[in-house]
């Protein structure tokens, strides 16, 4: 298992962390359990974006659009047709993945900063569409209220502690799968494309295909996370999926270290947990992170916990 954590942690370290994770909700109050639940949700989103931004180096700053597609798919199908949430988890992932595929296909060839702009545009288009309530589907600015819950043999997952175990179980599964993926053929392809696209192409890698796969997979995981988010939040409205949300996810990946799974966990702790610990300074949160991004780029562009196969994309000059 230690080996499967990608060698980031020793065997003992891993056991201690899992132990703390299991005991934590029995010691902490509901408030802190909720904080941990949202942390977990952001870890899932950060991991999904990390595939796109971190592994392949595609600058996607519209990721909350895919998250939104997943959450809305869940809310609409659950409220109108009473589809079970366990079925909606893969369905929402599929919906967001298909959207990711269709949207990524024509724009994937764009250069870094142009791709960034286009994804911001897509994010805004999707948010405005949700706001404008097409065919009465999305409920406009008020959104949709979704009452169904995840059920295990008739037991509804409703209490914060139930959500805590559910979300972190998803995190564990996702981390496990992503570590395997990092070491697979496609994972190495992704890193190759990130480090040197032209060399990768010369080696016979279909770089376009590798990028589209990453985009689709990232979108799909974000979509599936949308289902968990919908179940937790009950009310799904466009204000949860603004462009600022995409910026936060982007910061999580960059601050943590591109392509680094522990980096994402650390980065989302910085974005979600740290402000709760420093509540007196809560309104300075984004001010601080804006500053942190600048300082990070100047002094430590590889991130807080850099990936082992660490990236040159933010390190070396491309000249002028």
């Amino acid at each position: 298992m230690a080996e499967r954590m990608g060698g980031y942690l020793s065997k003992w370290g891993l056991h201690v962390i899992i132990g703390i994770g299991i005991i934590f909700p029995h010691v902490a109050g509901n408030y802190w359990i909720d904080v941990a639940v949202f942390w977990g949700i952001y870890v899932l989103l950060g991991l999904s974006l990390n595939i796109i931004v971190g592994e392949v180096g595609l600058f996607n700053m519209g990721h909350s659009a895919f998250f939104a597609i997943g959450a809305y798919t869940t809310a609409i199908l659950s409220e109108r047709f009473g589809v079970s949430l366990w079925l909606l988890l893969p369905l929402s992932g599929l919906a967001a993945g298909v959207a990711g595929y269709i949207l990524a296909k024509p724009i994937i060839h764009l250069r870094g900063d142009y791709l960034l702009i286009v994804t911001i545009g897509l994010n805004e288009i999707i948010r405005i569409t949700l706001l404008n309530n097409p065919w009465g589907l999305t409920g406009g600015p008020n959104g949709i209220i979704m009452l169904d819950q995840f059920r295990i043999f008739g037991y509804a997952i409703q209490r914060p502690i139930d959500f805590y175990y559910l979300v972190w179980a998803f995190v564990a599964i996702t981390v496990f799968v992503l570590i395997r993926l990092q070491r697979s053929r496609i994972g190495r392809c992704w890193n190759y494309v990130r480090e040197d696209e032209i060399a990768a192409q010369a080696m016979g890698i279909d770089t376009r295909w590798a990028k589209v796969v990453a985009f689709t997979l990232g979108a799909a995981i974000a979509g599936a996370t949308g289902t968990v988010f919908a179940a937790k939040l009950v009310v799904i409205s466009p204000e949860s999926f603004t462009f600022m949300e995409s910026v936060i996810l982007f910061c999580i990946v960059i601050l943590g270290g591109m392509g680094s799974i522990p980096g994402v966990i650390l980065g989302s702790a910085g974005m979600m947990v740290l402000p709760e610990l420093l509540r007196n300074f809560a309104q300075y949160r984004m001010l601080f992170f804006g500053l942190a991004l600048v300082l990070m780029m100047i002094f430590r562009p590889q991130g807080l916990w850099p990936s082992r196969r660490w990236t040159t994309i933010l390190r070396e000059g491309e000249g002028e």
Binding site: D113, Y114, V118, E124, N132, F243, E318
Partner: protein
């Protein structure tokens, strides 16, 4: 037909503002090959500075209102120009030699920082320019109505654009800017202080953005600390339309975008007008990233 001309005038007004903001994007891109993601926030800070100046005692009636408004515009431009130079020195200069994406991330950091600084100073809610800050004069010209603010916006923005064009095309410093845009190293060999030119660009660009911010603030009256991104994105679309790096292109692109947006709002639906703009942006980047006026530039390998 009346609706068409009315939307055309509205479009020209908004478009002139987009042009001013687009110039900042295009000049920075021209000289540094970098998209300054914080540029929309210079626009936003301009509108807040203008708000504070207008609300202060400046419009006491000692000088005519239109002259006072121009003083407000000039002071806001100066304030934001200083911020622009500081941002360049602190966040972009240390990264001049690193990769383009590093500078992009840094610019995003600057943008988040500026937005939240404004939120902490002026508060998170919408602020509104006081109603007496703009005279409610309306002229009727051949069946259509033009109000005072539309005339002021068109006059100030065209004045600034002509001044900039002459500055860049006719003066020695302007020639130095153009030379730097072509090649930093050669420009340096010709005795041009490239750092000085970049500082100048970060003085002019944000100042023009600030002028646009004050004018649009006076026009719509409502301002919010998050609008920088929306207007920034629109102005960037305008800059791309005209071919990024191309100064007259940004002017034409802004006007064209303003007119397209207002016609879309008038004839199709105003709830979807931002969607049209972003669709235009995406389609342009997909099919003609060098813009309608720009020439083809080979991608560096």
């Amino acid at each position: 037909m009346a609706l068409f001309i009315e939307q055309l005038v509205n479009g020209l007004t908004v478009g002139a503002v987009y042009s001013l903001v687009a110039l900042g994007y295009t000049m920075v891109y021209g000289v540094m090959r970098m998209i300054n993601f914080a540029h929309g926030d210079f626009f936003m800070i301009g509108s807040y500075l203008g708000f504070t100046l207008v609300s202060s005692a400046l419009l006491g009636g000692a000088i005519p209102l239109w002259a006072a408004l121009i003083v407000v515009v000039v002071l806001s431009m100066a304030g934001v120009a200083i911020i622009g130079v500081i941002v360049e020195r602190a966040a972009y200069r240390p990264l001049r030699r690193s990769s383009r994406l590093t500078a992009v991330v840094s610019a995003i950091g600057v943008s988040i920082f500026l937005q939240n600084a404004v939120m902490l100073i002026w508060g998170p809610r919408y602020r509104a320019y006081p109603p007496w800050s703009v005279p409610s004069i309306t002229w009727q010209v051949g069946g259509i109505y033009i109000n005072f603010m539309q005339v002021l916006i068109l006059a100030v923005s065209f004045g600034l654009m002509v001044a900039l064009y002459l500055f860049v095309q006719r003066t020695t410093v302007g020639a130095a800017i153009r030379a730097t845009a072509i090649d930093h190293d050669t420009a340096r060999l010709m005795g041009i202080d490239v750092d000085q030119i970049i500082r100048l660009i970060f003085l002019i660009g944000p100042a023009l953005g600030a002028a646009a911010g004050v004018l649009l603030g006076l026009y719509y009256r409502q301002i919010h600390f998050t609008v920088g991104w929306t207007y920034g994105l629109k102005a960037f679309t305008a800059a791309i339309m005209g071919g990024i790096g191309n100064i007259p292109g940004a002017m034409v692109g802004g006007l064209l975008l303003g007119i397209l947006e207002m016609l879309g709002a008038g004839y199709i639906s105003s709830a979807w007008k931002d969607v049209f703009v972003f669709l235009i942006l995406i389609l342009l980047l997909m099919f003609r990233p060098t813009g309608l006026l720009g020439e083809r530039i080979a991608e560096k390998v």
